[in-house]
């Protein structure tokens, strides 16, 4: 679940200054998501795979993260094959399987997986705080940054709380919601958690004010640009431009 758990490894991707990395990878992510030209697509797939290998991130970790888009593709492929239109592959009465559906599904798969690999390179090789600071450098409003930081912390807290409440409830015979049968118990658990979180937010705010909080989230982190950062970013930005140009032709 923690994308940045291997942020402490050493690799050319890890040592890449977070701001330059963001500048290089964000455009490539969008290019990869929107590209239509098959050569451009293969380019993005190649680059993203190469970067993950260079980053030395554990394969198991990477595969775990790819599960998400993978399931989506598994579900969408039959849908696309049955509905995309175009040339028939096979037909039974009203139901048709389209050749183009398979092609579209393959394209979607490559896109989704490439984008996810680039995403892993971006957020998996830098600590989340640094990534946030990099976004602040690009003018993400500090109040939004503060919101990200605190939400991140409290997500873990509520996993714990919810886990404890569900355990306590299960010990009293509760089962996870099936249809509308267990609605009442589920609602009770949610409302309790909701009210507790609201009351906690008031205490947290008080704790923050007592430490001088005025809206920004201060950190000590300082960025340092190196020549390698500029080179890596220039390379990838050029690649993005090239792929877009290829697509436009």
């Amino acid at each position: 679940m923690e994308l940045d758990q291997y942020a402490m490894l050493r690799s050319p991707i890890h040592s890449w200054d977070a701001r330059w990395k963001l500048l290089a990878l964000a455009p490539l992510i969008f290019v990869g998501a929107a590209i239509k030209h098959p050569l451009g697509l293969l380019c993005v797939a190649g680059v993203s795979s190469a970067m993950v290998i260079i980053s030395k991130l554990p394969i198991r970790h990477v595969l775990k993260i790819l599960k998400g888009p993978f399931y989506f593709i598994i579900i969408m492929t039959p849908v696309l094959m049955l509905t995309s239109g175009g040339e028939h592959l096979v037909s039974w009465g009203v139901i048709s399987v389209y050749r183009s559906g398979l092609y579209i599904a393959a394209r979607l798969a490559i896109k989704a997986l490439s984008v996810m690999l680039l995403f892993i390179c971006l957020f998996g090789t830098t600590r989340l705080q640094e990534s946030m600071k990099a976004m602040e450098f690009f003018k993400l409003p500090p109040i939004l940054l503060a919101l990200f930081f605190f939400t991140y912390r409290y997500i873990f807290l509520y996993f714990e709380d919810l886990g404890k409440m569900l355990t306590a409830a299960r010990l009293r015979g509760y089962t996870v919601l099936r249809g509308l049968k267990d609605l009442k118990s589920t609602v009770n658990i949610m409302v309790t958690l909701l009210i507790r979180s609201y009351e906690q937010s008031e205490r947290v705010y008080a704790a923050m004010r007592l430490k001088g909080y005025t809206g920004a989230f201060p950190t000590l982190h300082r960025f340092k640009t190196q020549v390698a950062d500029i080179l890596k970013t220039s390379l990838l930005l050029s690649l993005s431009i090239l792929i877009v140009y290829m697509d436009m032709l």
């Binding site: 679940m1 923690e2 994308l3 992510i29 969008f30 990869g32 998501a33 929107a34 599960k67 888009p69 849908v79 696309l80 509905t83 995309s84 239109g85 183009s100 579209i104 979607l108 896109k111 989704a112 984008v115 996810m116 957020f123 409003p141 109040i143 939004l144 503060a146 919101l147 990200f148 930081f149 605190f150 939400t151 991140y152 912390r153 409290y154 807290l157 509520y158 996993f159 919810l162 996870v176 919601l177 099936r178 249809g179 509308l180 609605l183 009442k184 589920t186 609602v187 949610m190 409302v191 909701l194 009210i195 979180s197 609201y198 906690q200 937010s201 008031e202 947290v204 705010y205 909080y213």
Partner: protein
Amino acid sequence: MHIPDGVLDIKIIAGGFTAAAGLTALALKKVKHDDIPRLAVMGAFFFVSSLIHFKVGITSVHLTFIGLMGIILGIPSTLAILTGLFFQAVMFQHGGISTLGINTIIFGLPALLVYGAFLPLAKRWKGRPFCLSLAGSILAGLTILIAAGLILVIIRFSGDEFTGVAFVFSAAHGMLAFVEGAITFFILRRLLKIKPEMLYAYKSSPPESTG
């Protein structure tokens, strides 16, 4: 539920981010720094709760709580939704990264509409929890249908070949609308009883709690 990467046209992706930036800017105008812990804590709650899957027939769906967020957080709900979507992408690879902007619009706009519709009702029906809960639940169900409609339109714009995909998404949302409305009704009823000041409409002048 969210639109994943790879489906949308570049123009729509860009448009989505532009519109989301606008919505975010609007929300930032309304937010004060003392709202941040509340938004963060509530945003985290919604994030975690929306991971609760349950079976409806042969499929399983998860709640979005978009309507409830609009009612509780008001205009700043956009920020909590954006944050929730971001972390769903980062931590669970739910939804897309390139589609963060468009997904924020799909879920953020209905939340704002719910808040806008709920506000006058909250004033008129102060102290009438049943009416308010019913209104809130209907609005919450509607947010899902509006979101489903938006998804359908947006995906269709990206190409005919995705029509089937769009319909699958929308159908799933349709089923969700009813369940979400029902759960919102019960949650609102309890909240109005125990802690009505949690609702954005009652932040400074809550009705008497009867709990």
